[in-house]
């Protein structure tokens, strides 16, 4: 692939960041870094997995409470936010794509778009949290779960479990996104200096893996938290 490095300093940056002393070849280094990131993602899978376990246990025991609480989340906000996050995954994949081709301006553009879409997601999440706070659906703080008609939720005594998992899981997810946003800023700064190109774009690629992983977590959180018993059919 033809290198599109415009900035000669960028080329120097690419060379400097290349081979670390304990590796024999650049290919070995890139391969090792990629595997390292995947092993890290394994730990993240297990980390989120523990909360998925608690979710499954309590959903099994309190299906009515979980259904009632889930219906108090906004289906359309959730689906739209999911769409936003998937868009950010696309822009991230494209950012990696252009990094491998050395198209400097496009790298920066798509990283910015990813950051923007991620921020929209977080903003919407923030609004949802605020909404729950106002509606007394935060466990431990004047908790009082009520449905749209104002009646107490079915099996209200166990709804705090749902909301605790809601906040725990989406909160952990959001924390990962905030950390990701910070890293994107660093990547944007370095990309704007021409640091990435066909010779070396590993940080962008590895961050892409992280970002896609965060997306995958949400792909599971959405149905589990937002889509329980949405048909409204009598049981």
């Amino acid at each position: 692939m033809a290198s599109q490095v415009v900035n000669p300093q960028g080329a120097a940056l690419q060379q400097d960041s290349a081979l670390q002393h304990h590796f024999e070849k650049a290919e070995q280094q890139k391969d090792a870094s990629t595997i390292g990131m995947w092993v890290f993602l394994v730990t993240e899978v297990m980390f989120f997995g523990g909360m998925f376990l608690a979710y499954f246990v309590y959903r099994q025991w309190y299906p009515a409470a979980f259904a009632a609480a889930s219906n108090n989340t906004s289906l359309w906000i959730g689906a739209t936010n999911t769409t936003v996050l998937i868009c950010s995954s696309l822009t991230m994949a494209l950012a990696v794509h252009f990094a491998s081709l050395g198209k400097q301006k496009l790298i920066v553009l798509f990283l910015l778009l990813t950051l923007l879409l991620g921020s929209v997601f977080l903003g919407v999440k923030g609004y949802e949290y605020y909404d729950k706070w106002v509606k007394h659906e935060v466990p431990g703080h004047n908790f009082d779960c009520r449905d749209e008609a104002g009646k107490p939720c079915e099996d209200a005594a166990h709804t705090p479990l749902f909301f605790a998992l809601y906040f725990g899981m989406t909160g952990l997810h959001a924390t990962h996104m905030i950390v990701g946003a910070g890293i994107i800023l660093v990547l944007i700064w370095k990309a704007s200096k021409g640091a990435y190109g066909p010779a070396w774009y590993t940080p962008v690629e590895l961050f892409g893996l992280y970002w896609h992983f965060v997306d995958i977590v949400w792909i599971f959180l959405f149905p589990l938290l937002y889509l329980i018993d949405r048909s409204g059919a009598p049981k």
């Binding site: 692939m1 024999e24 070849k25 290919e27 070995q28 890139k30 391969d31 990629t34 595997i35 995947w38 092993v39 993602l41 394994v42 899978v45 297990m46 997995g49 523990g50 998925f52 376990l53 499954f56 246990v57 099994q60 025991w61 289906l75 959730g78 689906a79 999911t82 769409t83 998937i86 868009c87 995954s89 696309l90 991230m92 994949a93 494209l94 794509h97 491998s100 081709l101 892409g208 893996l209 896609h212 992983f213 997306d215 995958i216 792909i219 599971f220 959405f222 149905p223 589990l224 937002y226 889509l227 329980i228 018993d229 949405r230 048909s231 409204g232 059919a233």
Partner: protein, 116 residues
């Protein structure tokens, strides 16, 4: 010292799938389109009463979406066997955690004795 004759063996130069394979943009757009469609499918299907099958359908769709992201956005389709093995281990261990713990939850009351 030793046992090391000058032998240029290749344990380090093993072949790793297509690490440098550049995925064409159209694949990304196709996957993106599929993900969006599946998102809205799962949203609308959730409003249909399928009884106890709702969760299985929702999870099946989620697994499809996650697979698309892993295979194409994360390049697993083009990656080395080691990378594929690592992800398989993650999925397998997660299922281990969930399934084995649930066997306790599911079988606790089988004997009809409280707490057993």
């Amino acid at each position: 010292m030793a046992s090391h004759a000058a032998d240029t063996d290749t344990s380090k130069h093993s072949h790793h799938g297509g690490e440098h394979h550049i995925v064409p943009k159209r694949i990304y757009f196709a996957v993106f389109f599929a993900l969006i469609v599946l998102t809205w499918v799962t949203t609308f299907v959730s409003r249909v009463d399928l009884g106890r099958w709702n969760i299985f359908v929702a999870l099946a769709i989620a697994i499809c979406k996650a697979s698309l992201v892993v295979l194409f956005f994360m390049h697993i389709w083009y990656s080395s066997k080691l990378t594929k093995m690592i992800i398989s281990c993650a999925v397998f261990w997660l299922i281990l955690l969930l399934f084995i713990t649930m066997t306790d939850i599911w079988t606790r009351n089988l004997m009809g004795v409280p707490g057993r």
